[in-house]
Symmetry: C2
Subunit: 551 residues, 2 copies
């Protein structure tokens, strides 16, 4: 009676992901373009990457295949960082491509992320294992981790393991930092005359690894759709119950792409975009003013309900909060012990008010007690644990106070009954949409070809994603081409530039053009759950973000 997998898992296991035509071809060749260079910091990056700098863009095309290795290959794969839907399909695509090229090729999965590579912990991935995970969500096949392969000793350990394992290649599935690390490892191995090729795969539900070469990071499509399903359901509840304001926080610390995509898919009344708030220098009070204004105007039109979206990273982008936190960090670094010894919180606030600037002291004391307390703690890395700030609850608290005051003054009759939600873990491990299932399988399949072509220090790409898979084109982008030099923790380091929401781009501009209407009218759209079997426009469409960017 009790099944071991769900009916959908069973049906979905049989799905055959779509591949770009060149990858389906029996004969494949790799077309190399002209040498490339990064958009900035060329000299410094050339100095740091003497062996892998300036490599050409690679395109996979149908061809005679003579270029590519035909002997059995031994390849490793590792998942790095947060889960994203489709990770298992990258591995399945890689496996199928290696086996198609030579049935004696072997694939090894390093366990629990880059730490597993450093420690040489892996399991061989057999057909039986791969088949169990086709088209599934999660990273549980080999798990993930957040270690970084950076230190000289770690790089040397990797080389040792690769030589012991006789690895022809390693595929690193990760975001901007992991792809940067892939380039550093590739450079190191080349310099050390180790023949293991390193290929990166662009992964992150945040959608912030994209550029002229990489159209999208995988997982963004599925995760956004899961959140949009829930937001749509909640919007329908809001217009049905006509008495709640839903404040919804969404995953996405550095970039607001997920929040923007969800807004484009569902048309909520209020959407806060961190990048805009930072660019305009909007203060916390101004944000509260804006929200209150919409709540009060809707109430005047008889609508004591609504939906608000906020990205989890918002707090770090609000200028006056950021200044206050920086000041707090300095004070805590200096006087933490003294502060902790003060008898109670009110004594701490008194002391802080003598140390902070007037503006920061005012911002701090305007916050709810629970958040004041969080801001005086440190996480295990010595940072203020901003992720513990439940921004949606903070905004509810501040807007409630404001509306209470306006009611007391007779300025509004709004009934403000807020409910809070946070959506993050619900989407990271969802089973991939058809788009992500196809895209990731193609990425894995293409990564195998880049290794067969002897390329290293590349991020695999699949382009033309807004068209049917029949028109997709796969290839590789030299990581050095995407690097620039940034200051991280006081050090100048090469990194892939994070793609934040472009305020001049079509996705944001489209949202900005409609948001006033969405604020006061009920323009909600209900995307519903991800569909796998229905009409193409329901099952295979790209995100609104990608469609607008490419339109």
């Amino acid at each position: 009676m009790i099944p071991e997998v769900s009916a959908l898992q069973k049906a979905r296991a049989a799905y055959r992901p779509k591949l770009p035509p060149a990858l389906r071809a029996g004969n494949i060749r790799i077309v190399l373009g002209a040498p490339t260079e990064p958009a900035s910091d060329q000299d410094e990056i050339k100095r740091l990457f003497p062996y892998t700098y300036g490599q050409p863009v690679a395109t996979i095309a149908e061809g005679d295949g003579q270029q590519l290795k035909t002997e059995p290959l031994r390849v490793g794969v590792v998942l790095s960082g947060g889960q994203a839907p489709g990770g298992h399909n990258v591995i399945a695509g890689l496996f199928d491509a290696l086996k198609a090229a030579h049935p004696e090729s072997r694939l090894f999965g390093f366990l629990k992320g880059p730490g597993g590579v450093i420690k040489g912990k892996y399991r061989e991935l057999t057909a039986e294992i791969i088949d169990r995970y086709r088209n599934t969500g999660g990273f549980d096949m080999i798990m993930s981790g957040r270690d970084k392969i950076e230190k000289p000793a770690d790089l040397a350990a990797c080389k040792r393991h690769f030589e012991e394992m006789a690895l022809d290649g390693l595929v690193i599935v990760g975001g901007d930092d992991s792809n940067t690390n892939a380039a550093m490892l590739a450079e190191y191995l080349r310099a050390q005359d180790c023949s293991t090729a390193v290929i990166g795969v662009p992964k992150t539900i945040d959608g912030d690894m994209k550029n002229g070469q990489i159209e999208a990071s995988f997982g963004f499509d599925t995760a956004s759709r899961v959140y949009a399903e829930l937001i749509g359901n909640i919007a329908r509840d809001a217009t049905s119950a006509v008495k709640y304001w839903h404040f919804i926080r969404l995953m996405g610390r550095a970039a607001s792409h997920v929040t923007l995509e969800c807004a484009l898919q569902t048309h909520p009344n209020i959407t806060l975009i961190s990048e805009e708030i930072q660019a305009k220098g909007t203060t916390l009070q101004e944000i509260v003013d804006y929200i209150t204004d919409v709540v009060v105007k809707r109430a005047a039109a008889g609508k004591n309900y609504g939906v608000l979206l906020v990205p989890e990273g918002l707090v770090e982008f609000i200028p006056d909060i950021k200044v206050m936190i920086d000041e707090l960090s300095t004070i805590l670094g200096r006087d933490e012990e003294y502060l902790q010894r003060l008898p109670d919180h009110s004594e701490r606030v008194q002391y802080l008010s003598t140390q902070l600037t007037a503006a920061s002291a005012q911002v701090y004391s305007s916050l709810p007690l629970s958040i004041q307390e969080v801001l005086l703690t440190r996480d295990s890395h010595g940072n203020v644990p901003l992720s513990q700030v439940e921004t949606e609850r903070l905004l509810i608290d501040l807007v409630s106070d404001r509306i209470r005051l306006m009611k007391a003054r007779g300025e509004t009759e709004a009934k403000f009954s807020p409910l809070s939600h946070f959506f993050g873990y619900e989407g990271r491990c969802a089973a991939p949409s058809n788009f992500d299932a196809d895209y990731t399988y193609s990425l894995g399949y293409a990564a195998a070809q880049l290794i067969r072509g002897g390329l290293t220090g590349y991020t695999v790409n699949v382009q033309n994603l807004t068209q049917p898979a029949e028109q997709w084109v796969a290839g590789g982008t030299p990581v050095t081409m995407m690097l620039n030099i940034e200051t991280r923790k006081g050090k100048q380091v090469p990194v892939i530039k994070k793609a934040l929401v472009d305020l001049n781009g079509k996705p944001f501009q489209t949202f900005a053009r409609h948001r006033e209407e969405w604020a006061l009218e009920d323009c909600y759209i209900f995307p519903g759950p991800i569909q796998y079997f229905g009409p193409c426009e329901v099952c295979d469409a790209p995100t609104m973000t990608l469609a607008l960017e490419k339109s």
Copy 2:
């Protein structure tokens, strides 16, 4: 570029719900059985319902149709209580059936729940309006409300409106209480010689309106599936990240059917069922012991992660908490003003410890401060606002304390990183699954036939639901047959008995047989999102609860 509905909304608008064969027939007759009586309290219920007591069970069958009214009918419909997926399809089925019987029939939707009936506020529901809402979630077509038609003045107002509107029938879509009210209204109208028939429709995502006649309340299937989708995704995240315990609270105050159904669909490590806790008299400390035990055992096996489900109503079912709350209510009723005047919370706790029994004082002081404070407030009805108790956070707090102590004593090395979730509003207004879309459309279609047959004081039913719709049978159950006398707010009143989780029933027994294995192993199942277009076993299956009950 910006669409007004989603691709899925568009595709789904065209879905034609399946109907039982008898309802599809051109000619319909109603077969009446023998007189019925309630299982208990027959005399009292007969005294309260002299006109509608003892009516026969009705079955809709193919036939000559001479029995049924053929003239144009005027019918009203109202949605009562919390949203449930499929409400709009009840109305669409009702509309289509009335129009099929006579194109000049008219349907009126009373606005914002039973309050709209009392006030006579309605809108005519035209084909254009109906078509916009086919197969959609939510109750926004005419909205809902929680008023009750009970007071003599309200009953009289209803009768006046019905006569002015020349209504042949009123369909009340609601849960156990609303169906009881439907019976009271039917009885009143019969007694007053008003010819408007009243028919109830069994609705509630909680799944607690069911009995020998009513196999399921609508909305339970869809809402449970939405929650199970999310729980499955989170379970996949747990096994991928291998570092978080997810404590998930689910909607369902009185009954734990939703939680049990989700457990059967996803196999979490720990599931708390309120009915079992009440039956066994499990204390809060024992619940914390049980959870801690599983956390510690899993940690010993290297698994510092897991998933726990808890129904939102749990707190009210824990015997020692219930006793403590009752005592608190008495104290607050007597000394609330004095308590509020005490200078701070610690003074209040001191005072309470002199007034509560020793056991209750101990339970109270074991709770986190934030919950201690909630328990000293009252909602607008003068009750302790238990719905504000975030049970999942309460359990996290208590289990964290316990594990911290065990670690300090060297009794465990468990790493306990808990995350909390609450799923409720995400499911109430989801677009109905095929099951709920078909079931609700059939209920609405059948309700029209009961009105055409001149029946009143019935709840419409569709039976044989675990079989394909081709074998479904629709009919009506006299509400008086389902009534019993219970004490509510100190008064003896007739009510439909709420169906709580039956600890001897197959759904609970199946869960109980597997839960030890589910606790320590990773037996998670991933149901995935509701599918509308795929294979039948993916799209049309009934809930596990119903399948097990009927097996």
